[in-house]
């Protein structure tokens, strides 16, 4: 069915109004429905709503309307707003809403540690950290095996990489 208002989009909102025994039916698309004042808020069911449901579940006391102080200092998005639209405003939101988001992520993703691709540019620090950890493990093994020459070599490599990372940090 096509929307009666714009005549273009698919009608997904169907409304029957009965006023003084006079019945009117309306079939509208979501967009046109939203613009009509007489409908106030049409409850729709979308992924975002579902997500919003999870947001509340993430807390131990879901029913209590908690005072919303958490706001993203970078973009101004507040948590209630996010709950409503299911979309964050900027990358910093992940930091500012960290406490609220973590349980949500665990719930919808089942996991909170990324193990996939790492961008070479912004992820270079992470790549170095991974490398250092790997060498440290090797170093431990080398010491256990009393392969001191190899251990010394690894120790120097780690030191060098750690220092280069510190310098990188200073520049930033």
């Amino acid at each position: 069915m096509i929307c009666q208002e714009c005549g273009q989009r698919q009608a997904t909102v169907h409304l029957t109004k009965i006023i003084n025994n006079h019945k009117t039916e309306l079939h509208l698309c979501e967009e046109c429905a939203r613009q009509r004042e007489d409908f106030i808020q049409i409850p729709s069911f979308s992924v975002n709503d579902l997500l919003a449901g999870f947001m509340d579940l993430g807390h131990s006391q879901p029913a209590v309307e908690k005072p919303v102080s958490s706001q993203c200092a970078a973009c101004g998005m507040n948590y209630n707003q996010f709950k409503k639209i299911g979309r964050l405003g900027c990358q910093q939101c992940y930091q500012y809403f960290g406490n609220e988001l973590h349980p949500v992520l665990r719930r919808i993703q089942g996991n909170t540690q990324h193990a996939g691709k790492v961008p070479k540019r912004s992820g270079s620090g992470l790549l170095i950290k991974k490398q250092i950890n790997q060498w440290k493990a090797e170093l431990k093994r080398a010491v256990e095996l009393e392969a001191f020459e190899r251990a010394a070599e690894l120790r120097d490599k780690i030191k060098e990489l750690e220092q280069s990372q510190l310098k990188e940090g200073d520049r930033k």
């Binding site: 900027c90 992940y94 919808i108």
Partner: protein, 352 residues
């Protein structure tokens, strides 16, 4: 030329394999709240790193602002799965980079700054990821992405965070549908982090028995693991569908052949075809062609008919926006002409 006319592995069951990844540029607000000047900045930056560059051998990227694309063309992009409806709706700020072979599409300012996808014919998820990964590297060489050590690629909606990847396989499953096995399959795959939906159709109804199966989870497993899970699952579904097709043919015999040939007859002769009816016959025809019942017809031919009969495909031929009975009549004409053309080209090839 696009994927529709190319053959690919397991094409009897799999129409296409698609990988999509979501990316955002560091320090720019997400599309959910960004200002028009941010949108323009993002579009220009991404354009700069890809426009006119090589997407793969023999193919380069073209750039377009959606506001400059005519309405019918927009709908065609959506139906070819090269762009989303959302991108079209935010046409004032959105843009698209499309490679000349129409395999790789990079949507700009959709839900995220960048949504890029690679779509290939048949069953080849790994190849799609390889190609897309290269394009991702090309952008990353110029731009810094919003990335978090623990959470991975940061996306506007937390349901995409991590790899930002959605891999999906579009499958034609008429025999499993007839045997009423789809519900059980859909239920099972949902338990292993996959999801399925019918495409070409509304709600849960899968018009033409065509389903899209994709990963639900994006954070935790690596890209390769996600693709691997989907590949293993789909491989099993492909085998089940093939077995079900053979069994169906064996048990229903002449009725099976009759249904296929009737579908062919209707598509070749009908004077009006609504979309639902059209998809039902196309599905029947595709099933028959996959089993070699209609000589001279390939699966690629059937799939190109399927695309031609979708609303935008029909409107492209008629050159105007039509609906209701008008489009049903136009659809029948478009399909009749297309079948005639296919038969003609076959004849010429034989003679030549």
């Amino acid at each position: 030329m696009s994927w529709i006319n190319e053959s690919g592995p397991a094409r009897d069951v799999v129409l296409t394999s698609r990988i999509r990844i979501a990316r955002n540029i560091a320090a720019v607000p997400f599309p959910s709240i960004m200002q028009p000047h941010h949108a323009a900045e993002v579009a220009e930056k991404v354009k700069k790193s890809l426009y006119n560059k090589k997407a793969e051998a023999g193919s380069t990227f073209a750039f377009m602002y959606i506001r400059d694309v005519p309405a019918v063309e927009r709908q065609i992009l959506v139906e070819k799965h090269l762009a989303s409806q959302d991108l079209m709706e935010s046409y004032e700020t959105s843009a698209l980079l499309l490679d000349s072979k129409e395999k790789i599409a990079v949507m700009i300012n959709e839900e995220d700054h960048i949504r890029m996808q690679c779509i290939l014919p048949g069953f080849q998820l790994n190849q799609a990821w390889e190609k897309l990964n290269r394009v991702d590297d090309m952008i990353e060489a110029d731009l810094e992405y919003a990335f978090h050590e623990q959470l991975g690629y940061l996306t506007c909606c937390p349901t995409n965070v991590g790899t930002g990847m959605r891999s999906s396989v579009m499958m034609h499953l008429p025999a499993l549908t007839v045997n009423k096995q789809m519900n059980a399959i859909l239920h099972t795959i949902s338990k292993i982090g996959l999801t399925a939906r019918g495409i070409y159709g509304e709600g849960s109804e899968a018009a033409g028995s065509i389903y899209q199966i994709s990963n639900q989870i994006t954070l935790g497993p690596s890209e390769e693991e996600l693709i691997n899970n989907l590949t293993i699952t789909c491989r099993q579904i492909i085998e089940k569908e093939r077995i079900a097709r053979k069994a169906l043919h064996k048990t229903t015999g002449i009725q099976f052949d009759d249904a296929v040939w009737r579908a062919y007859g209707v598509l070749r002769n009908a004077r009006t075809l609504d979309i639902k009816e059209f998809m039902a016959y196309i599905s029947q025809l595709r099933l028959g062609v996959s089993m070699g019942l209609i000589p001279g017809f390939s699966l690629e031919d059937v799939d190109s008919l399927m695309t031609a009969g979708q609303p935008a495909g029909v409107m492209k031929k008629t050159g105007q926006i039509i609906q209701g009975r008008d489009i049903d009549e136009a659809r029948a004409t478009v399909i009749r002409d297309a079948v005639d053309e296919l038969l003609e080209s076959r004849k010429n090839r034989k003679e030549g």
